[in-house]
């Protein structure tokens, strides 16, 4: 239970920071109750998200939460879904290039162990 409180406090702090940013950006004032309400809602929503993600993962007969699960979660909001999909694609591309590089490195390693080691250390 202590964890929960601390977690809540952390969320509240983060929400407060974000709200301040937005407030200064839009030049509006946000009262403390508003921030508290937002943080409470965020916390509960995170709980719900977590449960949903776990459900989705279990539904797909996996034990790990995947990006697919996250996308499924975010499908309601179109913009959010788009954003997440783009990010995930970026991430995938990044991973792919990384993998490719790694493969090449490994190939070089097999052929030229010394150079591969050097290349590997570079990477």
């Amino acid at each position: 239970m202590d964890f929960k409180k601390r977690l809540k406090a952390a969320v509240h702090y983060t929400v407060g920071c974000l709200c301040e940013e937005v407030a200064s950006d839009k030049e509006v004032q946000l009262s403390r109750q508003t921030i508290a309400a937002i943080s409470e809602v965020t916390f509960r929503q995170c709980e719900s998200f977590a449960k949903d993600l776990e459900m989705f993962a279990r539904h797909a007969k996996r034990s790990t939460i995947n990006t697919e699960d996250v996308k499924l979660l975010a499908r309601r909001s179109n913009s959010l879904l788009k954003y997440i999909t783009e990010k995930s694609e970026e991430f995938n591309v990044e991973r792919k290039t990384k993998k490719k590089k790694k493969l090449e490195d490994e190939n070089k390693d097999s052929l030229e162990p010394a150079e591969a080691g050097g290349v590997g250390s570079e990477n």
């Binding site: 459900m55 989705f56 539904h59 797909a60 007969k61 697919e68 699960d69 499924l72 499908r75």
Partner: protein, 591 residues
């Protein structure tokens, strides 16, 4: 004489009978203690005692001692049949069966007492001839209480038995048979007992026919009932329950409701009652639809089925009638497993059933070049029923319609049963909200809901073809098809909504409700589709639905799907989802 004795503080025929019993030399064991002594009508003999018995029945209250009366009645019947019918036994029977409560209408009770006994003698001789006390008591079952003595019998009878042509036939018979006999003796007596014992007898026709020994035993009038007239009559009955036994069928009512489905009510909003009745026509309309569909599919004429229907329909509400009516076409046509399984499957499905029927009817309609007019009427109605069910079904139905081809219909049919079977709890929770308060008789509704849903029977195949088609269907949607039946379904839901609102609603409000329902159902089906795809499947399954319900909050960590199924589904559906002791049993003798 009798009048003088009636001047007591409890001037009922019961007291009179008691006096008779007291004064009479007891030949049989008496059950009731007589309160007063007095020789009243002993010399009159059997006819008089029988009349008194009817009077006492009238005077007695109905509800409180009904159970006792029923129990005693059984005993009395046996006793009556065993011994000769002496005045004493008859009076005892009266006292045993009739509760002690004071009379509803003392005047009327008093009135018949001094009524011409001569006439009674003559009339009761008729009754005497009828075998056993059972028949003697039963004819009075239908005698009314509340109306004037002159019209007691016919009015009550009509009020209760007006729901089918069969019953109307009985109504016509009853006044003939019972009018001269029951009215003079005391309709109040007959009616009270009738009301108290009404529940025990399911076949009031029998005594009536027996009651007229002079005439041959008339079989129940089974005319070739046109389903349209039949259902019109149902609606007429439900809508005009206050009207005295008037049999004018509202010829256009069902068709109006079907064809002009976009209007909230075919009749102006008069408050709750029309909406109540309006909700009733749907079962009847669906019955009509089902029936006509079966006619198409199975081939046998509706006329063949409909006479069977009235036979089954007894004093009951419209839903009951519908239920039975739908059952009979099912059992009689019995062309497919659909029909066979239908009687097994209960409840939830009136929507599912309609849905299945719609799919089938739609397929048939689309395929067949000569779509019958009833089919036309059915389509929109069918789709109202379609939308009735949960959104998933509705959306899939709609997509099904859009596809509109014979094979697809078959697939849709299979798909729907899968959905239907897999989502019984889903609609059930809603349906309970929708339908529980609506029907005047919960039992009737239960009957109606048990009509059967062809869904599981059609197939337990996975919904693969349907799910696979769903995305394509959306693009290939025939807009007209989507609009018409789909909107009909939504409008039906909107009407339900307005009914439960208990206050008149604007048309715009109803349209908004329709819009929201549309979006809701769309989303529901999309979610199911996505969930299935998420699991790498092309078929929507139970797990997908459970996930959906979990997201909706219907299924929680505390309340599992199992619990919901047990809570809301009738046994027929429950046994499909949850193996229970009942499932897989066969009942002997087969009924």
């Amino acid at each position: 004489m009798a009048d003088g004795d009636i001047s007591d503080n409890e001037p009922t025929t019961r007291t009179l009978l008691r006096r008779v019993l007291d004064t009479e030399a007891p030949r049989t064991p008496r059950r009731r203690q007589s309160t007063r002594a007095g020789v009243q009508r002993t010399p009159l003999g059997t006819p008089f005692s029988m009349r008194l018995r009817s009077q006492t029945k009238t005077t007695a209250g109905r509800q409180p001692h009904r159970a006792r009366s029923i129990g005693r009645l059984a005993h009395i019947q046996t006793r009556g049949q065993l011994k000769e019918q002496t005045p004493r036994t008859l009076l005892e029977n009266i006292l045993l069966t009739a509760p002690e409560s004071s009379m509803v209408m003392p005047e009327s009770a008093v009135k018949p007492v001094p009524a011409p006994q001569v006439v009674q003698v003559v009339q009761f001789s008729r009754r005497e001839s009828s075998p056993g006390s059972l028949e003697l008591q039963l004819p009075e079952l239908n005698a009314p209480t509340t109306l004037a003595p002159g019209r007691l019998t016919s009015g009550r009878r009509k009020k209760r038995l007006r729901l089918s042509e069969f019953q109307q036939g009985m109504d016509q018979e009853l006044p003939l048979s019972q009018g001269p006999v029951t009215e003079p003796p005391g309709n109040t007596g007959a009616s009270s007992l009738s009301s108290s014992l009404n529940l025990t007898f399911a076949t009031p026709l029998l005594p009536q026919s027996v009651q007229r020994p002079g005439l041959a035993r008339r079989p129940p009038t089974r005319r070739a009932v046109d389903v349209g007239i039949f259902l019109q009559d149902l609606q007429d009955t439900s809508v005009a329950t206050a009207f005295p036994g008037d049999r004018t069928p509202v010829a256009t009512l069902p068709t109006d409701t079907v064809l002009e489905d976009t209007q909230p009510f075919s009749q102006p909003l008069i408050g709750r009652s029309p909406s109540v009745h309006h909700s009733l026509p749907y079962p009847s309309l669906s019955a009509e639809r089902t029936v006509s569909r079966r006619t198409r599919s199975s081939g046998p004429g509706l006329q063949n089925n409909s006479p069977g229907k009235p036979a089954q329909l007894l004093a009951g509400k419209a839903e009951e009638v519908d239920a039975l009516a739908m059952r009979f076409p099912n059992t009689s046509s019995g062309t497919s497993g659909v029909d066979g399984l239908e009687p097994l499957l209960g409840g939830v499905g009136e929507e599912v059933e309609e849905r299945m029927e719609e799919s089938m009817s739609l397929s048939e309609v689309k395929e067949a070049t000569g779509a019958q007019a009833s089919a036309r009427a059915e389509e929109p109605e069918a789709h109202t029923e379609v939308a009735e069910a949960e959104g998933s079904w509705g959306a899939i139905e709609e997509k099904e319609l859009e596809g509109s081809s014979g094979d697809k219909d078959t697939e849709g049919r299979t798909a729907r049963p899968e959905l239907a079977s897999s989502t019984p709890e889903f609609p059930r929770a809603r349906q309970l909200e929708f339908l529980e308060p609506a029907p005047p008789t919960s039992t009737a509704v239960g009957l109606f809901r048990q009509q059967v849903i062809p869904a599981p029977s059609l197939s337990s195949e996975p919904l693969e073809p349907l799910s696979a088609r769903l995305p394509t269907r959306l693009q290939t949607a025939g807009p007209r098809l989507r609009q018409d039946p789909y909107k009909m379904g939504l409008s039906h839901y909107a009407k339900l909504f307005s009914f439960y609102a208990k206050m008149p609603m604007e048309k715009k409000a109803l349209e908004m409700v329709e819009k929201c329902l549309d979006k809701y159902f769309q989303r529901l089906c999309d979610d199911l589709d996505v969930f299935a795809a998420h699991a790498g499947r092309k078929t929507v399954r139970l797990e997908d639905l459970e996930l959906l319900m979990r997201r909706q909050g219907l299924v929680t960590d505390r309340v599992s799907l199992h619990v919901l199924v047990e809570q809301h589904l009738p046994l027929e559906y429950r046994q499909l989802l949850i193996p229970c002791a009942f499932s897989g049993n066969t009942v002997f003798p087969a009924q």
